[in-house]
Symmetry: C2
């Protein structure tokens, strides 16, 4: 009755071995987290481990290709110069895959966060053939993997980002309305058998990409491509929900008497702040380009400006509910919203803070996403590398 959460490791017996694993992780994290390179002595001081212990752990991480020693550089003070430790470039890599409405692609990131390779194929994938596309993406990924392994990099795994409801347990794609896909098991179609591939919703992986920048540990992420996607990040960790379906903000009720939505309900957020709704309200064709809308806005055209007001108010209302329910202090606007930020930010912030009960005590900050295009691909690769860091013992 008094038992709380069983984290993956918490119901497993702790052996001597576990100490090593945990301290390996601790040391690796210390180096990866630090803005400047650390020495063994620095790590010892930060972690509280003995210098001797840190030394053996670091040696192991270096041998395993997770860390690299730089040339010792004399400090401005007395004493033996320290050996700077940094994440190892181009040894272990993670792969991010994505199918979106107008492109598919793959990116390879190494432990330094550098893009080792990236390939993107543009197209129009509205109502597309899942088997064909995923096979193509699989081939693309396979060529990247081969290239990596030729250069003696170890591929830690891959994450596939899809714009739909993905079951986090089984990896099944329940439905991706904008692709016209449903009931698909995407992993086998990629044909990357020996490599572990995990599937997730693209908004969630895009949110992970924000963690590379200067973002608070907890935030809500909202993005618009064709649909509206959302994600919850708590303490730098994705909050997926029971089955990976959290953050579905697109169909929050704005007005029970509002326009009919594709989902069957009335007055969903998507009918106010979705891309199509936005374009229509701005007096432009549904599939107009975002750049055209931005241009019209900069030109000061009234219909587009009014459309943004409506969208911002709706978005703010939905996000206000979101914050009331989840309580995080920051909202990050990504995708199309990041581009339209100048016309959204203040209005959204006002609407949110109007609705959030706790706002008087701690106002909610609204900001734009830092990660650029292909954020989901990047975030996916990052997630793979986060897993490596969470259990470095597997890789040394």
């Amino acid at each position: 009755m008094f038992t709380d959460s069983h984290s993956p490791t918490s119901h497993v017996a702790a052996r001597q071995h576990s100490l090593r694993e945990r301290n390996l992780e601790l040391v690796a994290r210390a180096v990866f987290d630090s803005p400047a390179p650390l020495s063994r002595a620095d790590v010892a001081a930060m972690t509280g481990l003995a210098r001797a212990t840190v030394s053996t752990l670091v040696d192991r991480l270096v041998a395993g290709g997770l860390l690299t020693e730089l040339e010792p550089v004399a400090a401005a003070r007395a004493g033996r110069p320290a050996v700077p430790l940094v994440p190892a470039p181009r040894t272990v890599v993670g792969i991010g895959l994505e199918v979106n409405i107008d492109y598919l692609g793959a990116t390879v990131l190494d432990l330094t966060g550098a893009v080792v390779e990236e390939k993107v194929v543009r197209g129009q994938f509205h109502n597309s053939d899942a088997v064909a596309l995923l096979t193509e993406l699989g081939r693309l990924a396979a060529s990247l993997i081969e290239s990596c392994e030729r250069d003696e990099m170890r591929v830690a795994g891959a994450r596939l980002a899809l714009p739909g409801l993905v079951d986090s347990g089984t990896g099944l794609l329940r439905v991706a309305p904008n692709l016209g896909w449903q009931g698909i098991d995407p992993v086998p179609l990629l044909g990357l058998d020996p490599k572990p591939v995990v599937v997730a919703n693209n908004a969630k992986l895009a949110a992970v990409a924000e963690l590379a920048g200067d973002v608070p540990p907890s935030f809500l992420y909202v993005t618009a491509n064709v649909g509206i996607g959302g994600a919850v990040v708590v303490d730098r960790q994705l909050f997926l929900g029971e089955r990976g379906w959290s953050g579905e903000i697109g169909h929050v009720v704005i007005d029970p008497n509002g326009p009919l939505c594709g989902c069957g309900a009335r007055g969903c957020l998507e009918q106010y702040a979705g891309k199509a709704a936005l374009m229509r309200a701005a007096g432009m064709p549904d599939d107009a380009r975002l750049a055209d809308l931005a241009q019209a806005l900069m030109a000061g055209e009234t219909a587009p400006l009014a459309a943004m007001q409506v969208a911002a108010a709706a978005l703010g209302s939905a996000l206000g509910d979101f914050v009331n329910l989840v309580d995080v202090g920051t909202v990050v606007l990504g995708g199309a919203y990041a581009i339209l930020l100048p016309w959204l930010r203040d209005e959204v912030a006002i609407a949110i803070n109007d609705r959030v009960l706790a706002a008087p005590y701690a106002p909610i900050e609204v900001r734009g996403a830092a990660a650029g295009s292909y954020a989901a691909m990047t975030g996916g690769a990052m997630e793979v590398l986060r897993d490596v860091l969470a259990d470095p013992a597997r890789w040394v």
Copy 2:
């Protein structure tokens, strides 16, 4: 950049000592979780620890008063009879305190989950004096503590449940609208200095009380007293949000053109499914008793029945949004909603499942709360004991 969450312990060096702590926890949990008493050998089999290890750990837990050995009872098979291990009664206890709109009280629970002592004082605390009430509650708690210690029980700590916005970091009560309190630091007012007291919102602690029963590991909890409170439980753990203000479902927008709410916005859930709104819609005085409403409903009176329809639809809509954002498969209705369950459950379930995008793949279950009155007090005491179990090393 690839760093994920730092749980309280995860950035601390693991020493030999940590092994002991973790395995103590593991063994304690195994015994506490098991429906039937376990032997040392059973625990060893379940945890994967060696029998020798389990023996020393169990000895320590028994010596520390967390576990008790029952009389060996011969099994129906060959072999030396096992010594059954069970949670120790009346050794270590947790205290739950609560101030609510019509009562204040304290309860003492031991590790078996039994109520050791409980005291409740009824009253009308709408717009009450915080200092006086908390002083009174403190005195009441002190007498319970004294009584416990006279009987050689160790008091592990206390949780104070308040119907308002509590800052989980500092323990400050920002505002409790129905008590008429704001900007209060409640802990010093209790005057229980040496004992650690943690403050939390009462809906959240009431949700914890549900964990004693047969409830799925993740659920949303909604309760109505005067205001509407909510909580998120994920994997048997309270999800508090960044500052402890999660689950504030009472002011989710139901209709932007709806009635004006005390919070300043329009069409909040509280205006449809709050106790006062409900009574008014039923044609009864705002402060009518719940039993009267239930009786009217059982008598089949039309106005009350219609009121329930409206409330259920609103509640379902808000909960639908909630589930879309947080993704859990179960909703538990507590407080007044538990009593009104027969007139709420089906309507709420239909409304939720109408709105939840993922419902076709996994319908949302709506159920009533199992914990009775004073659920927050009970949940608070349970939380204290959960902390004991999370770190038994501190108590042996």
